[in-house]
């Protein structure tokens, strides 16, 4: 009974609360970063980043290798490196789908698309490591994005591409449907019980695929509405009274107090993706006001993401922020901005851009977490996608 009441309180999803003042010991924002970035600066950055991706693409259309390339990742299953290669490749494909076309970019896009649809869908690595879920999450996102792109559905070869993309998209979906945990989410590690259907999941992994599931259903793909409903309810359950989202799923959510990953400052990489997904799922609670509140918290506390970026140990930074929250969070912040009225989007994108531009290296790439090469491909692709979302026509990146 008490549990039900507590759960009800959590699920009430109250109006966004005011954020607490930053703690005195918190890291300071980089002062050299300009307050705003222009569209031209974004285009320049995108050009350099895409040039990097094209230069690093393998002849077969993929990026990176299927082997461990970093001492930081020796603990993972061998199978996960192929899985991450394909997940990173899916994000590269999405990035190439999002940018203006040139012959070289088109060639790279078709080769990457071909590699994605022709190669085996990765399998589970071992008892605990199921990072192959990331491949299906972003592989599915990439296939849905491609399916909506006229270049792969119309004209010469469009039908053949459309068929392959649909089949591969459904393949990724079937995997996701098979591993959706009983509570409705998706995760990348095993939970309390080791079983064919995993028993642990996270709010952000679940949220990141919901809009693609909705789009796929509209495309006429055989998507079970129950899979979507479960996922949406799962993300709604992860919403905390503070406005933050819990990392994982707890039957009765709790905050331990103090510096916690489920505080707003530890939830900066999750608030945007969860709100974006709920809004796409027509959740009436995610109003414009709510989205603005989330973006304000994102920029107000951005120093915590800065401090965590490139730290080698997961969750070692303040509020358990991990380096790999950075570009995931910025990408979904850009998508969330595009859910606001058109008149106010540019101001938000202008505010977001400097935090992407400042991270770009001379070769055009970027990174937020040390490790094998897929860390570079996903980060660079997220950055391209986030910047492209802020340019005219960016709304198609959904």
């Amino acid at each position: 009974m008490i549990g039900t009441l507590l759960l009800a309180c959590v699920l009430q999803d109250p109006a966004p609360p005011k954020a607490a003042a930053p703690s005195p010991s918190a890291p300071q924002a980089e002062k050299s970063v300009p307050m705003v970035g222009t569209g031209d600066e974004a285009r320049t950055s995108i050009s350099r980043a895409v040039a990097f991706l094209l230069a690093k693409q393998n002849l077969d259309g993929s990026w990176g290798t299927s082997s461990v390339e970093s001492f930081f990742e020796l603990n993972y299953s061998n199978a996960s490196f192929y899985a991450w290669k394909m997940a990173g490749g899916a994000l590269c494909t999405m990035a190439l789908l999002a940018v203006e076309e040139t012959p070289a970019r088109r060639d790279a896009l078709e080769r990457s698309m071909n590699w994605l649809v022709e190669n085996p869908i990765p399998k589970r690595g071992n008892d605990w490591d199921i990072d192959n879920t990331w491949t299906s999450l972003y592989g599915f996102n990439a296939m849905v994005m491609a399916a909506k792109d006229p270049r792969f559905s119309e004209g010469k070869g469009g039908e053949a591409w459309s068929k392959k993309i649909r089949e591969r998209g459904i393949g990724f979906y079937q995997y996701l449907a098979a591993v959706q945990e009983p509570a409705g989410g998706w995760g990348y590690y095993e939970g309390p019980a080791i079983s064919r259907r995993p028993t642990w999941s996270t709010s952000f992994a679940t949220a990141c695929v919901i809009p693609a599931l909705l789009d796929a259903k509209k495309l006429g793909w055989p998507i079970d509405q129950k899979v979507i409903d479960r996922a949406v309810q799962y993300v709604q359950h992860c919403a905390l009274p503070s406005g933050a989202y819990s990392y994982g799923f707890d039957p009765i959510p709790r905050i331990n107090g103090g510096e916690n990953i489920n505080d707003i400052k530890g939830s900066l990489g999750r608030i945007q993706v969860c709100s974006w997904a709920r809004r796409r799922a027509s959740d009436a609670k995610i109003t414009d006001e709510r989205i603005r509140w989330g973006l304000e918290r994102f920029f107000e506390n951005h120093r915590f993401l800065d401090a965590a970026r490139l730290m080698p140990v997961p969750h070692e930074s303040w509020y358990a922020n991990a380096g790999y929250f950075y570009f995931f969070g910025h990408y979904h912040a850009a998508l969330e901005i595009n859910q606001l009225p058109e008149a106010e989007r540019e101001a938000w994108h202008a505010k977001l851009r400097p935090h992407l531009l400042k991270t770009q290296w001379e070769d055009g790439a970027t990174q937020d977490f040390p490790g094998s090469f897929y860390n570079v491909t996903y980060a660079t692709s997220f950055s391209i996608l986030a910047l492209a979302a802020g340019l005219p026509g960016g709304e198609r990146i959904r």
């Binding site: 959706q180 009983p182 028993t199 039957p251």
Partner: protein, 249 residues
Amino acid sequence: MKLPLRSLLAVSVLLACAACASTGKDAPDAPKGGDAKAAPKGDDPDEEADKLRKKERELEYAKMELEIAKLGAAADEREADTSVKDATLKLEAARKDQGNFLDLDKPTQVAGGQLSLDRSQQSMEESRQELAELEAMYKQEDFAELTKELVLSRGRKRLEFSQRGFDLAKKGQEEMLGHDLPKKEKELAQSVEKAEKGLNEAQAKKERNSLETKLKLMRAEHKVDDLVRELDKMKKKQGEKAAKKEATA
């Protein structure tokens, strides 16, 4: 005037008899079965001198014995003081242990045990709530039944273990309240009682030792005093004899 030889011998015999008659009890040092012809001991100056020297030695010995007795008395007093001090410290420590137990240790143990019990109960309650939530959520849809059962069976076991853990914690608290703490309290009270007896014993022993020491010293002092008096008497007597002799001569 000329005396005949027979007359001289008779005089010698008479003098000897007179000498024997004059010694009597005043010649205690005369050798047993001694020479009847020897002079009376009391009148022998060498003998007198020996007696005096012996007495002087006796006095020296008695004085030394008195010094030894005084040193021994001081040592005994120190030892008795130490014993009383030790016994006092033991009593203080025992009382402190008892006070610490009653004022701090016992209430802390009782409160700590209760906190542990409350935590255990809360943990059990949370397990029950979470299991109930999961069961309620899982019942909403026929989906992933096998996986749900795997998760729920672990949840049920967790609840069972929490319940058993709580029962054990409860028993532990009861044992602490009903046995461990009263036993400890009794042991500490006994320690205080024992230490009090030890102090009383040490104090009584000290008083007895004090009287014994006083007696020893008194005896030694009196002995010295007696010897001094005897020696003075002997010297006086010897002086009188010497003066008499000088006057006779």
